[in-house]
């Protein structure tokens, strides 16, 4: 794992995307800090981080898109498979390398509240709590982006899908207000989600039987719930949409609350998508 981590860091030091990512993140935070803290004279640094979230949606995929897609395209993944390494070690090594790259601008950004505190009262606890949550938010997005990169050999495709997913997630709470809250609306949406889930299972395991049986089980469950207890489905779709929002949980920290549930949520997302990445690499071996 250490070998992969060191190698990845060395590769990032040679390539443009990591520098671009750091530069853009620092630029976004810089602009935010200028608008909020300097021009508007607001003492809350966490608001700057909230402002930067949308920027993260666009620039993080630049960092994650190549992780596995490039390996497959250059056929260097064959080396990784042939080396005496576990796939989990490869995934973890690459993930830690991405986190390290993300930590570099974060380390610089973490100096800002200290700098501002010299010129007035800054809510340091909220600022650093939010910075920590912001790091976890980024770490979750990196895990998701990495998984998407493992599905394709086209970097552009990986970036496009990642940005779309992050944008949907970013606006999921607002979308929740517009989607149907009726039981039937939820039923239709969940049926579509079940099909998408089955497709993903099929893609990862290569087993049509498993994918179809998973889809059938979920569809059957949904059908039975709709028939016998349709009230349970009412309002479920908007509720779920706001629950899956990565950003909404970060805003809790911005409001000054150190939410442990959010931390658990972020860690679950990270572990889940790292696990999926390992499965996705394992699947490639069967192709």
């Amino acid at each position: 794992m250490i070998a992969v981590l060191k190698h990845e860091l060395q590769m990032y030091s040679h390539a443009l995307p990591a520098y671009l990512f750091c530069a853009f993140l620092l630029a976004f935070v810089g602009v935010g800090a200028m608008l909020y803290n300097i021009q508007s004279s607001v003492a809350n640094f966490e608001l700057v981080l909230k402002f930067v979230c949308i920027g993260l949606v666009v620039i993080l995929p630049v960092l994650t898109m190549r992780v596995f897609a490039e390996e497959k395209k250059q056929k260097t993944d064959q080396l990784l498979y042939a080396l005496p390494l576990k796939l989990s070690q490869i995934v973890l090594g690459k993930y830690l390398a991405l986190l390290t790259v993300f930590l570099v601008p974060m380390a610089i950004i973490s100096l800002y509240p200290q700098v501002f505190s010299r010129f007035g009262d800054v809510y340091l606890l909220t600022a650093y709590g939010s910075l920590f949550a912001f790091f976890l938010l980024g770490a979750s997005m990196i895990a998701i982006g990495m998984f998407i990169s493992s599905l394709t050999e086209n970097q552009g495709f990986a970036a496009g899908i990642s940005i779309t997913l992050f944008l949907l997630n970013f606006y999921s709470v607002r979308l929740a207000e517009y989607v149907s809250a009726t039981a039937f609306g939820s039923l239709i949406a969940f049926c579509m989600l079940a099909v998408a889930l089955a497709w993903l299972i099929g893609l990862l395991t290569g087993s049509r039987i498993l994918a179809c049986s998973a889809a059938l089980a979920v569809l059957l469950g949904l059908g039975l719930t709709f028939m016998f207890k349709s009230s349970a489905l009412e309002g479920l779709l908007p509720k779920m949409l706001s629950q899956v929002s990565l950003f909404e949980r970060f805003y809790i920290f911005v409001d000054g609350i150190f939410d442990l549930r959010a931390l658990v949520f972020y860690l679950t997302v990270i572990v889940f998508f790292l696990f999926l990445s390992v499965q996705s690499l394992e699947k490639r071996r069967y192709n």
């Binding site: 070998a3 590769m11 056929k75 498979y81 080396l83 005496p84």
Partner: protein, 341 residues
């Protein structure tokens, strides 16, 4: 030792590797021969853990590649068809990474890197970016990474493809040297290459093993395809009457060619072609007809390859105008397949 047991790989309904079994003992250079699409790369990818088989097992020194992948992979150095190189690095950085990933550390890693750099002759380019290296050097860097960790088995997938003649000779010499200390298995569809370096040849066709033996032994299997071609100015019926008097000839075929000459392809029943040539010489001399040209031709690996792969329904790309038709040797050859499935 590599033990491949009933290995199968299906892509949908297409069987790329079909119930393949063989054993490779320690030491020596083994050639993996077969036309394009015979399943060479697929088999090699499965043997090195890059691809999962649909069925069957591969054991490397007793370690199953699926159940104990790390122990098995430590014994193997692999160069895939496309050298897996990170083009934004220098060979030195790349070898450093591969060495560390193979669990080699510190001074030992530096020593091994120096050793493989010297062995593969990439010293002059060790600090240049891989992206600017020639194909020959890229191939050498690929071989160097396979050698790191001093694995017992080295698997090279078409290591000479795309190289210029001088580079090909150099890589062949390198493979021959490696065979002294390691077990080398390399694939190729160039027959002369396999013939010149390998001690044992595995011929693959349509995903199945059709022959596994030493190149010269494989050639001996086709004794009936040995023959003589001669050029004479005698008339066809005269040639027939002369040849009827000579012993040890099974059949012949005459074709008229320019300057009223007759080209005769003769199949010999015996392997002693010199004896047949001598008899032919005197027989023609006695009848007062001159032999203008006479060429003895023994079956070579190409004949074996053509016969075995054609038999499996292929039309090999490297067909040649062989005079004797090696078809007659089919039964012999198939009987002597050493370890086929």
């Amino acid at each position: 030792m590599i033990v491949v047991d009933h290995l199968t790989k299906h892509y949908g309904t297409f069987a790329a590797v079909n119930n393949l079994s063989f054993e490779i003992r320690d030491g020596g250079v083994y050639g993996f021969l077969g036309p394009n699409g015979a399943g060479k790369s697929t088999t090699m990818n499965i043997m090195t853990g890059c691809l999962s088989p649909t069925g069957g097992t591969v054991r490397i020194d007793g370690h199953d590649i699926l159940k104990e992948p790390e122990a098995a992979k430590r014994q193997v150095g692999y160069l895939p068809e496309h050298p897996p190189l990170y083009t934004s690095e220098t060979p030195l950085e790349y070898l450093h990474f591969v060495g560390e990933a193979k669990g080699i550390k510190g001074a030992e890693l530096r020593r091994q890197i120096d050793e493989v750099i010297q062995l593969t002759g990439i010293g002059p380019v060790r600090d240049r970016l891989i992206s600017v290296l020639s194909k020959g050097y890229c191939q050498r860097v690929g071989i160097a990474q396979a050698l790191l960790g001093n694995p017992e088995i080295i698997i090279l997938d078409e290591p000479t493809v795309g190289l210029d003649p001088i580079q090909i000779i150099e890589i062949r010499e390198l493979i021959r040297d490696l065979g002294k200390a390691h077990t080398v298995l390399f694939s190729s569809h160039i027959l002369s290459e396999v013939q010149s370096i390998c001690e044992q040849v595995l011929i693959l066709s349509k995903g199945t093993l059709v022959a596994f033996d030493a190149p010269d032994k494989l050639e001996k299997l086709l004794t009936q395809s040995s023959g003589i071609r001669l050029l004479t100015q005698a008339a066809a019926d005269t040639v027939d009457s002369i040849l009827n008097r000579v012993q040890g000839l099974s059949e012949w075929e005459s074709t008229a060619c320019e300057e009223s000459c007759l080209s005769v392809s003769i199949k010999a029943e015996t392997q002693d072609l010199h004896d047949v040539s001598r008899q032919l010489f005197f027989a023609f001399a006695e009848s007062g007809n001159a032999i203008l040209e006479m060429t003895a031709r023994r079956a070579n690996l190409e004949d074996v390859f053509l016969e075995l792969t054609e038999d499996a329904g292929h039309t090999p790309v490297e067909a040649q105008d062989s005079i004797p038709n090696p078809k007659d040797g089919e039964s012999d050859c198939e009987k002597s397949e050493v370890k086929t499935t």
